[in-house]
């Protein structure tokens, strides 16, 4: 896959930079449309949610540990822990569940 990867990286980096750069360089006025503003406000939530679920269920060694990890992350996030803490709690939950499963199954 050596040769084919670089054009992908170029497209990725190029598009991502343009999205960040163009609004800052070109526009100095504020967006007026309520619909566009609302849409942009909801985009990160819709996007992150669709990336997380159901993908998280197949990320680990077994679906049981994935469900426990998901549950632990949701609980920790509800308590408003920091990003790093929630990530580590999810990892720990998966780790412990898989150790327990080893003995049970």
């Amino acid at each position: 896959m050596e040769q084919n990867v670089y054009p992908y990286i170029l497209v990725m980096a190029g598009v991502t930079y343009l999205i960040r750069m163009l609004p800052m360089v070109l526009f100095k006025r504020e967006i007026q449309s309520t619909y566009v503003k609302s849409f942009l406000y909801y985009v990160p939530y819709a996007c992150l949610a669709s990336m997380t679920f159901p993908a998280i269920l197949t990320a680990t060694g077994s679906i049981i540990s994935a469900v426990v990890g998901f549950g632990a992350a949701v609980l920790a996030a509800c308590k408003e822990k920091s990003l790093l803490t929630v990530a580590l709690i999810a990892c720990a939950a998966v780790f412990i569940t898989e150790r327990v499963l080893q003995f049970v199954v």
């Binding site: 896959m1 990867v5 670089y6 992908y8 990286i9 497209v11 990725m12 980096a13 598009v15 991502t16 930079y17 999205i19 960040r20 750069m21 609004p23 800052m24 360089v25 100095k28 504020e30 309520t34 619909y35 503003k37 609302s38 849409f39 942009l40 406000y41 909801y42 985009v43 990160p44 939530y45 819709a46 996007c47 992150l48 949610a49 669709s50 990336m51 997380t52 679920f53 159901p54 998280i56 990320a59 680990t60 060694g61 540990s65 990890g69 992350a73 996030a77 509800c78 822990k81 920091s82 990003l83 790093l84 929630v86 990530a87 580590l88 999810a90 990892c91 998966v94 780790f95 898989e98």
Partner: protein, 237 residues
């Protein structure tokens, strides 16, 4: 006012605010390095992606497309939709940047528009100096890039059960971003649950299963965020 001391001070406070960001980045981009090398990329390709993209969600989605050898259009569209939030952040930061500094700084400041760097910049009182952004970027970018390097390097040495546990880190971080506002705002809650439901449909319905992961994210985001913006427009301040 002395311009040089001004710059130094701004740069220093940027560095300080960048440290916790860099630590968080390291852990997440570590798993990106593991996943990229696991998917067949070289360590240096993974590091190059992190250095040039500086974004978590976009990189993970982009990696899936590279591994699946999707089309460049799919890649461009996926990055556009996933990173569309940066557009809004750049708009917002563009109003907050100091006007007495040369315009050319905007080309460099915009490279560092991430959720976290934008977050600390937006919470600053008054206008933001470009050197504040540079300070934050000076620790956050190495944190993000080195994490990928270390992850790519040790990923092949780490045993399976460690990798299995680490692979949920990125999802944990995403949940930490979306759940607190979802608890506070009904519309965001609707968006989060709606998006999870729609992407689940794409994973289980036989015909929809054929749609590749990048397009699932695009379609779900456009559909759910579009509906939410129509049904629950945000209130003007």
């Amino acid at each position: 006012m002395n311009r040089t001391t001004d710059r130094k001070q701004e740069f220093r406070s940027g560095l300080k605010d960048g440290i916790p960001i860099a630590l968080g980045y390291f852990a997440v981009s570590f798993t990106f390095g593991i996943k990229a090398v696991d998917g067949g990329l070289s360590i240096w390709q993974a590091v190059l992606i992190s250095l040039t993209n500086l974004t978590s969600a976009g990189q993970f989605a982009g990696l899936d497309i590279i591994i699946a050898m999707g089309s460049y259009w799919e890649m461009a569209l996926t990055q556009l939709v996933i990173n569309l939030r940066y557009c809004l952040m750049s708009f917002s930061l563009s109003q907050k940047l100091r006007r007495d500094v040369p315009w050319v700084h905007r080309f460099f400041v915009s490279f560092g528009v991430t959720d976290e760097i934008f977050g600390v910049s937006a919470s600053r009182e008054g206008k933001v100096h470009p050197f504040y952004s540079y300070g934050a970027m000076c620790v956050a970018v190495p944190g993000w890039t080195l994490g990928t390097l270390v992850g790519g390097f040790f990923g092949s040495i780490l045993p399976e059960f460690i990798l299995s546990a680490l692979s949920v880190a990125i999802y944990g971080m995403f949940l930490a971003v979306i759940i607190p506002p979802a608890r506070k705002e009904k519309a965001v809650r609707f968006v989060v649950i709606g998006a999870m439901a729609v992407s689940t449909l794409f994973a289980v319905v036989p015909f929809l299963k054929k749609v590749s992961s990048g397009f699932v994210i695009i379609i779900t985001t456009l559909l759910v965020a579009g509906a939410a913006a129509y049904l629950a427009p945000i209130k003007e301040e």
